[in-house]
């Protein structure tokens, strides 16, 4: 009923509007819909079990999408859709996506609220900056985790000693190097055919990305790429070029949406609505197979705050109740590796996500800002917690009680969260195994989380 090329056509013919005006409209329309649908964030109910609230958030997100449309930054035009078109696209949306091959093949399928099926774990340092010589050990530490269904990339500070600059020939070289090194890490991890969900994350320009996604560099069928929207509700031709390539080649593609709580949308309620709307954007403009959100707190640069946990939970529930979309979330913590706080933050976000129908893209730590601060241990903590929450059958009500106890452990420390330790302080880089210090710290935290109600013994 509607194709990618219809969307492209609308990007050339839609109503022209200045970008600043559109940015303002997002907040205005979202606020109106918050009021119309009576959506209210309750700081005392972090993981709501209010189905009606979830449905209202969904309806408001759909209405916002229909009213605002998507903004195309290249043309300054609005791309609008009818309700029928959105409903048709939702019906056509994939029910599964396969990553990897052979023994490393993994299939992501739709999860319901309070699903006992464990979340799919796409483990990655989320582009954490790392020295070139430590790139492979860093990403290997993710690929080798038994619960990693896929893995993805760090960001090497240099490639062949040269810094990577966007838009230069070096960016193309770096993108190719990135794919080669990711597959090298997969082999080193003993999982040569594990899926790489985002083959290139160190190139902003699409020409560099497309140059790198080639079989001779290590890309395999069932690997994929992310296609990101611009916050809020905007797309551009640079991203749409990727879509064309992916439509022809058959690599997997997923949508990446990072709405900013406190930004153009406004507060947690309005940002929740806008986050739901981003999923329609990804489905219709990018034709993605699954959707990865990483809503962030404007000031804290993480999503472990109380209001972001609520937002993650309610948007997951809204989409899981009303669609069969494959949806996930990327936890972002304030604290860095090898700290009790990072374990607590990951546990809180994963808990909120897992009971709300979401998969997990694990995990950005230290606000995804500090070099060398990201390790496979954080992915292990997230994946294990996600698996146990599902298998233990934790309900939303139970999760709400547990998450508030976890929040009490770290909430006040978010603005001054510890930076944590570097990769070389957390892992033996010869063996690519975590230090006893980190393992002991995780054990201590598990004992505490066990008292809160998470039973790690079932793993």
């Amino acid at each position: 009923m509607i194709s990618f090329w219809d969307v492209f056509k609308r990007s050339e013919k839609g109503t022209f509007i200045k970008e600043e005006k559109y940015d303002r409209m997002v907040g205005q329309v979202a606020l109106e819909l918050v009021q119309k649908y009576g959506i209210k964030y309750d700081s005392e109910c972090v993981i709501p079990e209010d189905d009606d609230l979830a449905d209202r958030v969904y309806q408001a997100g759909l209405e916002l999408f229909l009213e605002l449309g998507i903004y195309c930054r290249d043309t300054g035009r609005l791309i609008k859709f009818s309700r029928e078109e959105v409903e048709w696209a939702l019906k056509q949306a994939p029910t599964s996506v396969t990553y990897g091959q052979g023994p490393d093949e993994r299939v992501m399928t739709y999860r319901t609220i309070e699903d006992s099926k464990p979340p799919f774990c796409l483990n990655t340092p989320v582009g954490c900056t790392v020295a070139e010589e430590r790139f492979v050990p860093m990403v290997q530490s993710y690929a080798q985790e038994p619960l990693s269904d896929t893995f993805s990339s760090a960001f090497s500070q240099t490639v062949q000693g040269r810094p990577i600059k966007s838009g230069t020939p070096q960016e193309v070289e770096a993108a190719i190097w990135n794919v080669i090194k990711l597959r090298e890490a997969a082999r080193a991890a003993g999982r040569p055919h594990i899926g790489i969900h985002n083959l290139v994350s160190n190139a902003e320009r699409t020409d560099a990305t497309l140059a790198a996604v080639q079989a001779e560099f290590g890309a395999q069928p069932n690997d994929g790429l992310a296609v990101a929207a611009n916050s809020e509700m905007k797309i551009d031709y640079e991203r749409m070029k990727k879509v064309v390539f992916l439509r022809h080649t058959g690599y997997n593609k997923y949508g990446l949406y990072g709405p900013i709580m406190g930004g153009y949308a406004g507060g947690p309620e309005a940002t929740a609505i806008v986050h739901v709307a981003h999923h329609f954007l990804g489905l219709l403009a990018f034709e993605v197979q699954w959707h990865d959100g990483f809503p962030l707190h404007l000031m804290q640069g993480c999503n472990s705050t109380r209001n972001l946990l609520w937002l993650i939970s309610i948007t997951g529930q809204a989409l899981a109740r009303n669609t069969h979309l494959l949806i996930g979330v990327g936890p972002f913590t304030a604290a860095g590796p090898c700290t009790e706080m990072v374990v607590h933050e990951i546990a809180a976000i994963v808990l909120a996500a897992t009971v709300s129908g979401l998969h997990l893209n694990l995990v950005a730590v230290a606000r995804n800002k500090l070099p060398e601060r990201s390790t496979g241990m954080e992915a292990r903590i997230g994946a294990e917690t996600g698996h146990l929450v599902a298998r233990q059958g934790v309900t939303r009500k139970q999760a709400d009680g547990i998450v508030k106890q976890i929040l009490a452990e770290y909430e006040s420390q978010i603005p001054s969260a510890p930076e944590g330790k570097r990769l070389d302080e957390c892992y033996n880089l010869e063996t690519v195994q975590p230090t006893q210090e980190y393992l002991d710290l995780y054990e201590r935290c598990k004992e505490k989380l066990d008292k809160f109600g998470l039973d790690y013994s079932i793993l």
Binding site: R24, R73, G127, T129, F155, S166, E204, G267, M299
Partner: protein
Amino acid sequence: MDLFEQIVEATVAGDQDRCVSLAQEVVSQGIDAFKAIEEGYSKGMSIVGEKFAQMEYFLPQLLTCADAMKAALEVLKSHLGEDLEGRTQGIVVLGTIQGDIHDLGKNIVKTMMQASGFVVHDLGCDVPVRQFIDKAEEVSADIIAASAILTTTMAHMPDLAGLLNEMDIRDNYIIMVGGAPVTPDYAKRAGADGYGENASEAVEVAKRLMIEKSKGGSQ
């Protein structure tokens, strides 16, 4: 409540009509327009900035308050006299650096800087280093401020100081940088004079650097 207190209140409330009518009152009563700005509108925006930093206000409210202040300043503009430029905090050339299309943080910095009395020339996104410098030369800027959200685009930041040095005009400008991947350490290595972790900090750093510049301090 005196007039300046009313202006502060109206600004914090983002009440554009009231901000404008109070500005008209300032003019009709012959009150010093600069004093009204400093002790009224700017003071109000400073409170708005604090509320924003604490997330009591979100960006839509910040923009509404800034709009209210701007509308009032339009009324006062013709009463500010000829030395308007001399009484601004400084002239800033601002943009998101080459290759980077993310502009939320940059736009917040722009709003906060304007509200604090800086004249801001916003070059938008994906701005080549050369364009920052050309604009700075054209408008005799005090500050060149660049933002990046990606590590690959952040890598262009050192070229700002590098090219200014090559052109032998480095001392004419204060360089400020910021954005998600930028750390104070990186800012220093990139040859920047200032760094802001967030918009409020960026404004404070810009003010401090302008004071140092006016005293002839090294940048």
